[in-house]
């Protein structure tokens, strides 16, 4: 396999070390629960264990927006032409975190929580009010061009390809934009084409691609310049199951085999489960949780959703360990705690008691987890 363009050596971040190191004394930040991660160890005076600087460093980042208030009526509209009233909204309210080379971090939170503001600051689009931010050693808003040259960004809902051009021409254009040397470009392109199976799509205008095909092409497009850091914004939104798996598989390989650092925002908890070793939860502009998915679940809820389609719509459902939370004809929604009853046992327990057409187990949606996290946070504070 050629790897001339993947500049950085492949490596795995040493998550295996089982020591929690409190770094509050070095940064003055609040102690955050989390995995025993290399950056914690790096804070040791010796500094020998892990000399690599973090890919992203964010400290006490604040970003406020001025929202124009509209006044009602014709007079209001007229007055609004000349003078506006503004209301300040804190989109990001003093967040801090580090991301090490080779991490694959899920960044989740409800709409309007400050996710996209953070990503925009990290990628140099937005200038924050205060706080420290380094991306690949640079201040992104001061050195926008140098920063974004090493960044790949994929938006699930917006393509970066040229709508009416064949995919391959979009790739060529991106080569010119990112000033990628020809040989490096060609090997990266051919490799991505092989990995993502794009060969049959190259001559098709982007507007004729299906969503899944387009997403694969977008992923390739964002990697042609061999970025060291990749932002993925809802990369699986609207995709069918097969495409979702293909995207996840590719992202995983990219991270594991190339060591590309990935920050992933998503509403799909399955994405996180499949990919991320670490999850950052943001709500109302603050980091609510920084740790593994299991830790997050453990902090909030251990419950799973069990959805069953019964043979007999009128049957009385009775299954110890599970609580019925909703019912809609043949379909019954239940909750159970896998710590008390493991999922396989719950399923067999249910099937032994009721005639079942179909059944599946799901995680509670992100919104619910975050909402609970919020409730806990606000309950803790007076």
């Amino acid at each position: 396999m050629t790897h001339s363009v993947w500049q950085q050596a492949t490596f795995r971040p040493p998550y295996v070390l089982g020591v929690v190191w409190d770094k509050s004394h070095t940064h003055g930040g609040t102690r955050q629960p989390g995995l025993a991660r290399a950056d914690r160890l790096r804070c040791r005076p010796s500094g020998i264990l892990w000399p690599m600087p973090p890919v992203v460093r964010v400290e006490r980042l604040v970003k406020t927006f001025q929202i124009a208030e509209r006044r009602p009526g014709f007079g209001g509209a007229l007055a609004g032409l000349f003078r506006r009233r503004y209301r300040a909204v804190r989109a990001v309210d003093g967040i801090s975190f580090d991301i090490d080379p080779g991490e694959l971090v899920g960044y989740i939170g409800p709409n309007g929580a400050g996710k996209s503001t953070t990503v925009k600051v990290l990628s140099g689009i937005l200038v924050p009010d205060s706080g420290i931010c380094r991306v690949l050693g640079r201040v992104p808003w001061e050195e926008r061009i140098a920063t974004v040259a090493q960044l790949g960004v994929v938006f699930g809902q917006r393509t970066q390809l040229w709508w009416d051009l064949p995919v391959l021409e979009s790739f060529d254009l991106l080569r010119d934009i990112y000033r990628v040397p020809r040989t490096a470009y060609e090997s990266a392109r051919d490799e991505l084409i092989a990995l993502l199976e794009l060969a049959p799509l190259l001559d098709v205008p982007v507007r004729q691609l299906s969503l899944g095909q387009r997403m694969r092409c977008d992923l390739a497009a964002s990697l042609l310049h061999a970025p060291r850091l990749l932002f993925l914004d809802e990369p699986t939104i609207g995709l069918d199951a097969v495409s979702k798996l293909a995207v996840r598989d590719f992202v995983r390989r990219l991270n594991r085999e190339r060591g590309v650092t990935v920050i992933l925002t998503t509403h799909d908890l399955d994405d996180i489960e499949a990919l991320c070793n670490r999850v950052l939860v943001i709500g109302q502009g603050r980091i609510l949780c920084d740790g593994s998915l299991a830790e997050l679940r453990g902090r909030v809820t251990t419950q799973r959703c069990l959805t069953v389609d019964l043979e007999d719509a009128g049957a009385v459902v009775d299954c110890p360990g599970a609580v019925v939370v909703g019912r809609d004809g043949h379909r019954v929604h239940l909750r159970f705690d896998p710590v008390q009853v493991p999922a396989p046992e719950m399923i067999s327990r249910f099937v032994s008691r009721h005639a079942v057409r179909d059944l599946f187990v799901e995680n509670p949606p992100i919104e619910e987890i975050v909402a609970r996290l919020f409730a806990q946070e606000s309950a803790r504070k007076p």
Partner: protein
């Protein structure tokens, strides 16, 4: 009547939200009016020959046409265009209304409401500062009022016809563009018809577009005397009837074609 009025009312509510845009649009028309009046003044000062229309009349003509700029049939109706483009015409057929009149009402509101929202500030400022004169007689005012109403109906009939033409995709686009260009030239919007060379004026008079700008405003100026108003209004009405009938016929053919081809 009710569904048709509802079409107009809905459009009115949409447009009222864009008051600031309407105000800016009025500003644009004022600026253009100023440029045009200055150019006409310079031409009139450069020649001693007697012209078929006086400079004062031209100034009023220009301001009136700037104020009613939105009335010019130089567009296809956006909703109809989108319906056709997205292939949703069939769903329009499911409604228990006469599709031509629904479309006509859309065209009417698309013309009427922006005109009403823009014309008053222009007329006011032009009347106060820039040489727009009131009509010379009550008869001229009445005739102009009737002709303006007719102009509105006529403009909508043209827009409806051109929009229906989009059912024939490519040729419809082409004809629409020709019609827009003709509307600019032959309505009198760019140059009052009395200043045209005779042969070009003959073409303009043979086309329906002059009923939108030239007829109402020359009635306003008394340039068409009130005594000739009935004939002018009858010609305008004739065009409205003819274009509505043509539109209905075209729509029927277009829909049949659509059903046959399964578009």
């Amino acid at each position: 009547m009710k569904p048709y009025l509802a079409v107009v009312a809905a459009r009115f509510r949409v447009h009222v939200q864009y008051r600031a845009a309407a105000l800016a649009g009025a500003g644009t028309q004022l600026f253009w009016g100023l440029i045009r009046v200055m150019i006409f003044e310079a031409f009139y000062r450069s020649s001693t020959a007697v012209q078929p229309i006086s400079m004062a009349q031209v100034a009023s003509y220009v301001w009136l046409s700037q104020a009613t700029f939105a009335m010019l049939p130089d567009h296809v109706e956006a909703e109809i265009r989108d319906t056709i483009r997205d292939g949703n015409v069939a769903s329009e057929l499911l409604r228990p209304v006469d599709i031509y009149w629904v479309w006509y009402c859309r065209c009417l509101s698309f013309t009427l409401i922006p005109t009403l929202m823009r014309c008053f500030p222009i007329l006011l400022l032009a009347g106060l500062f820039f040489g727009l004169k009131p009509p010379p007689s009550a008869a001229a005012a009445a005739a102009a009022g009737a002709a303006l109403l007719g102009a509105m109906l006529l403009s909508s009939a043209i827009t409806a016809l051109v929009s229906i033409g989009l059912l024939w995709t490519i040729s419809g686009e082409g004809i629409a563009r020709l019609s827009f260009a003709a509307a600019y030239l032959f309505s009198g919007m760019m140059l009052p018809l009395p200043l045209f060379p005779d042969w070009l004026r003959a073409i303009a008079v043979a086309l329906p577009y002059h009923g939108v700008i030239d007829v109402p405003f020359r009635l306003y100026l008394g340039h068409i005397p009130p005594s000739a108003a009935p004939a002018a209004l009858a010609a305008q009405a004739g065009w409205i009837v003819a274009l509505v009938l043509a539109g209905r016929l075209l729509l029927k053919r277009g829909l049949t074609r659509l059903v046959v081809q399964g578009g």
